[in-house]
Symmetry: C2
Subunit: 347 residues, 2 copies
């Protein structure tokens, strides 16, 4: 048996920032990225939370992530810009790219910033919520290396390419959708392998492209919609890939360097950050209030209906009180990095 | 037994335009809308094709669709505009709104046009393909009256709110995603009722919110992702509703006037048309070529993998040769309108 430790979120964030400074990041980036990872863990999205820090540290040490990147920003039109992330931490670059999209949106009504030469940028709901907290509608896309089979296909081809959309909400946190275009994340397969569980039906294929519930046999994920309606999740993932990769001069689909492959190889990932100023539309003045009314209408629905982002808000309330769960294996990784980097131990 | 007639697409378009002129539309709008409906039928999307013409004619006659609307267009920033469709035919308004978004995109890099006071606008892939044929990336959203239950809910709340994204493709038609956010359209339920078929599993709920395969008992659709992963289709539908309704000062979810309800009641629908100029991004010069390469990569996938829009291209090739299938019930409706309007009979 093993016990899952619960660690205070502020301690985790401080420790994470210290690790990032120790591998060469400046104070601002170290704090931004550590806070973002811990915020994601607070939302309960452990696949994109502080558990990813060791990977980022390893890539910085291996040279494929620059701890002090040189960004190159080119404003190409009143509403558009290209943001070259200089192979730095994707989270810091994505925050900056969305901030620029917000500036463009204030001027041009809508702003779109293409991100290129970047790395894994974590949960994209971080960036759309940033825009929404500023009174704008945020839309974000990123792509990833291949693990999802196309509909009617037998082999992995696309990433779990997510879409996020967030709206300002009167009297509450932004209303935020942040979803991968596969039914489940690959992380869920990894967990099932570790814990000896079977997978639910209609989420994975084996190496021959046959549906499987055996986590150890799983070789690809099924797109959102499952075997019958996965043409929708697949097509959406493909379009997101084009918006992130080819539009920004980056690679697509199975040409993308794997996250957990050669750690010395640059990822060269793309993304697209869009901010839209509601004040330029007929409903702008009342939008945040209408969003609050939608949430009220959802609460009155029969059944146990949640609004988008509500599971994250519930998880955050609990984890702020009880701490963030850290599995023993992850704790060992953390302790290993503490030693290697000579930072103050976590708690 | 009944035989399905196959009608030449050009005859259908001419007849449709004549009907629209007979109820008061100008030549341009009549031609645009009839051609769009027939094009949609050519793609095999019969739910949004020429079968919808009688509904539009009935609404014009009932007064809830204006045959000669007054559009009000307000440019609100370099990249944004509000397009008031004046309760005219949604298809004509949506083409014009996307054309304006394209103009804005040429100037500002990206253009977003909010559509308000409009009516049913058919298949939104019409508008994104228009942008893509012009070398731009087209993104479109619209919303609809409630028929989809939220995840974990028991009662219809949202529309089948679709998203479309289209890219220019070198040497071929645009690559186009056009998908509703429910697993199946309500039209499929209607067909199953008429033909006495059962529904597939995991697509519909009965009036008590229980999953059902009985088409006659179906009272709501399940969002894309089914009972297990429908939180994704549901959340996406909700965000699309906000982009189309509240952003443009229009209603949301179950407050939207039903399509097949009181035909004298204005629909007051919204939409959002976005065009993005690839030339303002790092990959712009090579984008159409990369899209062609993606299509080639998809063709090399094991299995019988199609690219988004390929089923429509296949249907179009067949229907241009063999004609568009018209069910006897629909043919009777057509003949009824021919008589009422005194236009030249269809064939």
């Amino acid at each position: 048996m093993h016990t899952v430790e619960h660690v205070d979120h502020a301690s985790l964030a401080n420790w994470g920032a210290a690790c990032l400074r120790a591998v060469g990041c400046n104070d601002d980036d170290a704090r931004t990225v550590a806070d973002a990872l811990v915020q994601t863990s607070l939302w309960g999205i452990d696949s994109h939370g502080i558990a990813r820090l060791p990977h980022y540290l390893a890539r910085i040490r291996a040279g494929s992530i620059e701890p002090r990147p040189r960004y190159t920003v080119t404003r190409t039109a009143p509403g558009t810009a290209q943001f070259d992330g200089g192979h730095g931490l994707g989270i810091a670059a994505a925050f900056a790219a969305m901030a620029l999209a917000q500036t463009l949106a204030r001027e041009a009504g809508i702003g779109a910033v293409g991100l290129c030469e970047s790395t894994h940028c974590g949960a994209i709901g971080l960036y759309t919520r940033q825009a929404a907290r500023d009174g704008l509608v945020g839309i974000a896309f990123t792509h990833a290396d291949s693990i999802v089979a196309p509909a009617r296909g037998t082999r992995k081809f696309l990433g779990t390419n997510p879409i996020s959309i967030a709206f300002p909400r009167a009297g509450g946190a932004p209303l935020c959708l942040d979803m991968a275009t596969s039914a489940i994340p690959w992380n869920r397969v990894m967990n099932a392998r570790r814990e000896g569980h079977r997978l639910p039906p209609d989420v994975a294929l084996d190496e021959h492209g046959r549906p499987t519930q055996d986590a150890n046999a799983a070789a690809a994920l099924v797109p959102l919609g499952g075997v019958s309606y996965g043409h929708k999740g697949y097509a959406l993932a493909l379009m997101i890939d084009l918006l992130c990769g080819p539009l920004n001069g980056m690679a697509f689909a199975d040409r993308i360097a794997p996250m957990f492959g050669d750690l010395t190889q640059r990822r060269r990932l793309g993304g697209l950050m869009i901010a839209l100023d509601p004040a330029r539309f007929a409903g702008g003045a009342t939008l945040a209030q209408r969003v609050a009314e939608v949430v009220d209408a959802i609460r009155r629905q029969p059944g146990d209906v949640l609004y988008p982002g509500e599971p994250e808000e519930r998880a955050e309330a609990q984890r702020r009180r009880e701490g963030i769960p850290v599995e023993p294996g992850l704790r060992a990784e953390f302790d290993d990095w503490t030693q290697r980097l000579g930072v103050a131990p976590l708690r």
